[in-house]
């Protein structure tokens, strides 16, 4: 006897009535690809997730519907995860910006005071 389901699709499968609890043999893992998505030309590509696939071509056709079926999209980039060079958060302090680097900020240049002083001294 096979499993009778309320779902006709499943009844057609002819599944065994008694469950099988054995682990799946020979698990095959495809690798992962990172997906970057561009909403419209002129925008940047933004990382939106990853897919499992055996190669770039397959990754692309699989990513297209998972990441562009709802959102507006004009282009996808697909990058093999292992090709992404990641920095470590242990190095977070390396990215801190020190206040004294005002010489490269717009706010580091305030000349109005000097101009006003000059005008005051030279006006009669």
């Amino acid at each position: 006897m096979s499993l009778k389901s309320l779902d006709p699709r499943i009844t057609r499968e002819g599944l065994p009535e008694e469950p099988d609890n054995t682990p799946v043999e020979n698990i095959h893992h495809w690798t992962t690809f990172e997906v970057f998505h561009q909403t419209k030309k002129g925008d940047r590509h933004i990382h939106v997730g990853s897919v499992h696939a055996p190669n770039h071509e397959m990754a692309y056709i699989l990513a297209k519907e998972q990441f562009a079926r709802r959102a507006d999209c004009v282009s996808l980039w697909i990058v093999k995860t292992s090709d992404v060079y990641q920095t470590n958060y242990r190095d977070e302090d390396m990215y801190e910006n020190n206040q004294e680097k005002m010489y490269r900020e717009a706010g580091g240049y305030k000349v109005m005071e000097r101009i006003n002083k000059y005008r005051k001294e030279h006006s009669k």
Partner: protein, 328 residues
Amino acid sequence: MYGGGYIFEETKNGERTVEDPKRLEDFEARIQAGEKIEPMDWMPAEYRKQLIRMIEQHAHSEIIGALPEGTWITRAPGFRRKLALMAKVQDEVGHAQLLYSAAETLGKPREMMINDLITGKSKYSNVFNYPAVTWADTAVIAWLIDAGAIINQVANSKGSYGPYCRALERICMEESFHLKYGHDNVVFLATGTPKQREMVQDALNRWWKPIMHFFGPSDKISVHTETLMRWKVKMASNDDMRQKFLDMYVPKIWELGLSIPDQKLKKNEDTGIWDYTEPDWEEFKRVINGDGPCNKERLAVRRRAEEKGEWVRKALMRNAEEYTIPLS
């Protein structure tokens, strides 16, 4: 869609990893300050373990959750419903894909999680062990189970683990379509012919119990729970979520003239708290441990799907790269 109250396992004292107190302190301070934790960050072993368990259960709930509604995918009446139901079930599969990725960033490969699902080692939301008996059941599921899921997911999206929050952000967006679709479907049935009305009332009667079970039993207040809340893994109490659900949806059910099969259900105007008949938690435990109306079928179906894909995965392995954990 998803599911439900948090079901965490207590870790036995002997199994607990002793963490470096300084690192633990920094970690907790960062969470306290509202920072997110990313895959490459240091994290306590217990945090990693409980997160894998939670996100994995969530992912399983999406893929198994596609089955009760999928029961009616070949029978949806009319183009509008047929297309919408397909899109909704497709979204659930998409959510599973996003969530498995989020869990993978913590170090457990997808196929291993799926293996744990189909061997019964890993759980999923209890509600999906109940059958969708008629078309109206799919309407009630899409509306009310998804409504419950949104309450849970919105809370979780404010949690501490970056990849999970990002997945939930997109999931919550899609859930709003599910909720609208489900409500629309219930409204058409409730305001339709007497036969349609009867169908939807029957479905609601069937699903009320699983819905009340959905958020899980009252949380035991334990050191364990407190730690998970401090780490922003558990974001709301099961009772609070259930109350919020009742507050938002009971009036919407009543306005359609539908009745809810619980004589005691009433809002206490003084406290603002809903009184209800305590759900049968023995049944809840029984079902979660495998003895529900559809447990066997759900797992057999996922096993078959895996088996059917086996030759495809194997064939394309030939030139494939070695598996890598995704970035986020």
